[in-house]
Subunit: 333 residues, 2 copies
Amino acid sequence: MSERYDVIGIGNAIVDVLSMVGEEFLTANGVQKGVMQLIDADRAIALYGAMGQAREISGGSAANTIAGLAMLGGKAAFVGKVKDDQLGAIFAHDIRALGAEFSTPMAPKALNGEETARCMVLVTPDGERSMNTYLGVSGHLGPDDIDADAHAAADWTYLEGYCLESPDTRAAFAKAIKAAKGAGRKVAVSLSDPFCVDRNRDEFRRLVREDADLLFANEHEVESLYQTGSLETALEAARADIAMSAITTGPTGAWILTAETRQHVPAAPMERVDATGAGDLFAAGFLYGLTQGHDLTTAGTMGCLAAGEIITHIGARPEQDLKTLFKKTGLMS
Amino acid sequence: MSERYDVIGIGNAIVDVLSMVGEEFLTANGVQKGVMQLIDADRAIALYGAMGQAREISGGSAANTIAGLAMLGGKAAFVGKVKDDQLGAIFAHDIRALGAEFSTPMAPKALNGEETARCMVLVTPDGERSMNTYLGVSGHLGPDDIDADAHAAADWTYLEGYCLESPDTRAAFAKAIKAAKGAGRKVAVSLSDPFCVDRNRDEFRRLVREDADLLFANEHEVESLYQTGSLETALEAARADIAMSAITTGPTGAWILTAETRQHVPAAPMERVDATGAGDLFAAGFLYGLTQGHDLTTAGTMGCLAAGEIITHIGARPEQDLKTLFKKTGLMS
């Protein structure tokens, strides 16, 4: 990576396998609704065998954010690990096709062993998504995959919370954070999932308090971080811990918090077909706003509009051109 | 295949790679609009590199027909060749998930060489699709993959016209036809594409005149078969050649022709987003009607309704449950 980026995102490189299912499918197959569960290869085979027909669309939380940023015209790069297999080629193609840089070395071709990560995303009629992730090679993203100079030059380093599940990727985060903070650059972190927060709470707390300048989370995730059932308590705890937080609240919008300010930005009025990627695209719009020098209200509105686009269709990569959408609503000239 | 099937379809086993493009993309990349072009591995890489983000949905013309039939509750099997790779696993999963039998031996795993077939489907804003097919292992479907007993037992053997491009698959067709006709069963053939007809006209003419009992085509394909610019001339030529023809005419519907009868069935009024698979799903609905013992008008109406569903969304596999759709319109009780 030789250029200077607005945002470099580090995350799991995943292809989503999306299928519509009834509520009873979740129950019958032991899938927990609305969250992400990590599954092994055997469980992946069994669950896929039980699933109906599907479609494959590139995903990955930070990758979706970087894809959205690139589509908006931001200078964005993604760091994540695929294998040199067919799904890896699909992932690499789709993110580069939107203008993002993606040059992390692929795990080499091999007939057996771990493959490119996939996530079986089960979408129920209410538009909620329940995710089942086989991490494959994506969990092996390590410090050697981090270009310290690039992070020292980028305005923002964006860290996907899901990656805390992997020791290798925690070490990759540490290297990127050191490079970014050493150069006076900023670090953003997403909490990703309430149960992921639960499994890695100490490290998330440390990250938020010590390393990060901006926290992305939804209400359930931030409540999990601070072990409270009160959003208000969680918001104020975040406010005390970190310079800026953007906490999405589903259909109502998002809270934007700094030490001095606190405001709620309303969601874009869209019909929810599939919630997959809503938080990721909120982060894309918000970071686009920040890196373009907009105020927090505008950045929050941009986040809500990008999130609004993604929930109107199946899959976590924008279908409408986000630039055109932003121009239509006057957010971009 | 130990059971008795209503329809066994033989065709190319393909995963579609679908992307929305502007008209100028077709021009700039030498893609001929509205037809299928066969491409080699190098061209596939170059074209994919130029394409924007895409989604992967199982396809293949006869496979789409068999998928639709299975979704409607027909006893349907598909015969086609994938490799034991990730796209092959996706193809096999998706068709089985709809209830179709698919047990053709996969080409074995290998690090290099031909892979499972894919078709880059470029969808323009008018809803037209332009297809670029890398055949890979699917062209190696041969006589050894044909279970003669199964074809001798099935009501219908359905042959995908595209397969005439492959000498191996022509030989597979011959074996299936011999088994089916020898047992007094029926054979249907689709013309697939006007240029495919042009490249293989003699064999298509022979098939239609000598082997097949039912012809599926659109107006351009049947005009190509009889080398005429007049649909009327082509329809009458087909009527003289074969016991039954179902000739789709795009947004207006379809002609159903026998020696004694000739009628036009109107299309279902749907907004066209992506024409991919319209002909395939017409065949699914029509064959479902025939095998359920319905009259030709009903079978034609079923064909038009299944085709109508498929054009309302991206991809050539039904998104709505076709049974529910048929029940809503009173075509199924």
